[in-house]
Point group: C2
Chain length 335, copies 2
Amino acid sequence: MIGRPTMNDVASDAGVSLKTVSRVVNNVATVDPELVAKVFASIKSLGYRRNGIAASLRAGGETRMIGLITEDLSNTFYITLASAVAKVARARGFQVIMASSEEDPEIERELALDLCQRRVSGLLVVPTSADHHYLQAEMDLGVAVVFIDRPGSGLDADAILVDNQGGARSAVERLISNGHRRIGLLMDSLSIYTMRERLAGARDALAAAGADDDPALLVENVHAPDDAASAVRAMLDLAEPPTAILCGNNRSTIGAVEEVWRSRASIEIVGFDDFEMSRLLPQPVTIVDYDTSALGTRAAERLFDRIDGIASEPFEQLLPTHLVDRGVSWALAPS
Amino acid sequence: MIGRPTMNDVASDAGVSLKTVSRVVNNVATVDPELVAKVFASIKSLGYRRNGIAASLRAGGETRMIGLITEDLSNTFYITLASAVAKVARARGFQVIMASSEEDPEIERELALDLCQRRVSGLLVVPTSADHHYLQAEMDLGVAVVFIDRPGSGLDADAILVDNQGGARSAVERLISNGHRRIGLLMDSLSIYTMRERLAGARDALAAAGADDDPALLVENVHAPDDAASAVRAMLDLAEPPTAILCGNNRSTIGAVEEVWRSRASIEIVGFDDFEMSRLLPQPVTIVDYDTSALGTRAAERLFDRIDGIASEPFEQLLPTHLVDRGVSWALAPS
DNA sequence: GTGAAAGCGCTAACAG
DNA sequence: CTGTTAGCGCTTTCAC
């Protein structure tokens, strides 16, 4: 015997027809128990394994796979997402192909098309900021597409998003109600959708309260913790330093806390995105938190709705944020 | 036109044979440029997309996919692993199907067999502690299997592991050379391979130095940080409390540090497994660290070696550990 | 250089 | 209840 045994091999070994083997393998009830036993015996003795590829080809391309494209697989955010997606998929008997675009729109495109060529039933995409027009053809051919965390551009597809504006607004409102009027804003590049939204929300709240929107209090392109630390350093050196700081993501929160703590300044900090060890931060910090897992779950559910053929206008769903208190427990120095 | 256009549709539209389309799609050089142009035009106008499933069926089942089965996709350790694996796979034009066994041997089995049925070329498995005999048939049929972090049982396959014994040994040696003789050991369940190895390494070093191996200084089944905290609490209440503690994983390190800090005890702590925020720990801690990314990279490389047909005896590769200092920076209380 | 025929391993029709 | 006949969309002979 060369190569894997096929259904045909099993059929001749068991002395039944190909179709009977197929029925047995697919648990069709209406087969003579005696034949079933014979077939199973041959399957076992030959070491037969059903070829899912061939089956799905004949069955019209149902691969029971979905693709998940994120920017960076090593980031906990995407992982929580992936984990939630995998759970929903598993419940449906689907497998998940995960791929990282490494924040490169070109790679994202290649991956998406590769996955489509592998005939995934649907595609979950955390989009890089680029055009997604190229997916239109695939959508027209029946591939479901749902964007996560950021809307896609140039493509009318569903998107499950976080209410970034609302989160930033409530964060700034809390600071203002705590008496702050000068609030520093640390944002990553404004080419990132979430950053634009968060900034817009913050400014909304500042404007509503008539608080300062001083250009010196906004620093962009804060990417790494160290960037945040130096941005804070610079703000503290201003003639009128801020009394509170809003951090656009968890990396900047870490850097900001580090610098504030180091300089013994009295600055209230609110940051976006909770993280595992935020309780260890050495001063009280308020975090704009949201349920990343729910983001993945909702997106996957929506994708399966589309795969099931539920037709409706493409829509955006916003997931709520909430403020949580972090960082106190370690703040108590040993006496 | 109903459904997706096929190669046949393109062929008749372009007025060439099916095979010519196939050649063009597969970049075969020896095609008349004029025909190539015609074919491309038809492909574009019909919106043709190559069906990778059908291609791989005829080509003998080469799906250019590998499977990765871990215990828990939401854990950073597995993610770092997954990310490294995905990178190696991408360089080869392979996609990765990731699935979580949720620490259930039965699920692991189902997933592995499902992935084999989908004809992955290879399987990377972080095994739960169970029998992997069921994979033997798949291996015999040519599916490559490499275990990561823990050896599989009942199956002669490659395994890429961390030198847990060596790491624990050097950790205890350091403690001993720092003058400690009574060293508390916090381990998770000894049904976990890594825990058994780490404990064995620690005992080696204790025995070599003639230090105490007091049963009261070993606590098993330390799973969550809180378990570690109470274990430490109990040890501190001993008539002869330990002066140092070795923690079997990062969760127990967090709990142990918390309790030691809270009780103001003077205990030197060494823990296994570095983690993102370990620098924030409020007292100096030594961590037995290792390169998780390398674990994934090596495993994937090994898998592709096997996929490429490199024949050699199944082998185990141990990756080294090293001690790193963590936790000082935040220890300075504000004055 | 190009094309007709065969068939990868399976399932969907239909007939028996 | 079972078997025969097609054919999924593509690639691989092997002629032309």
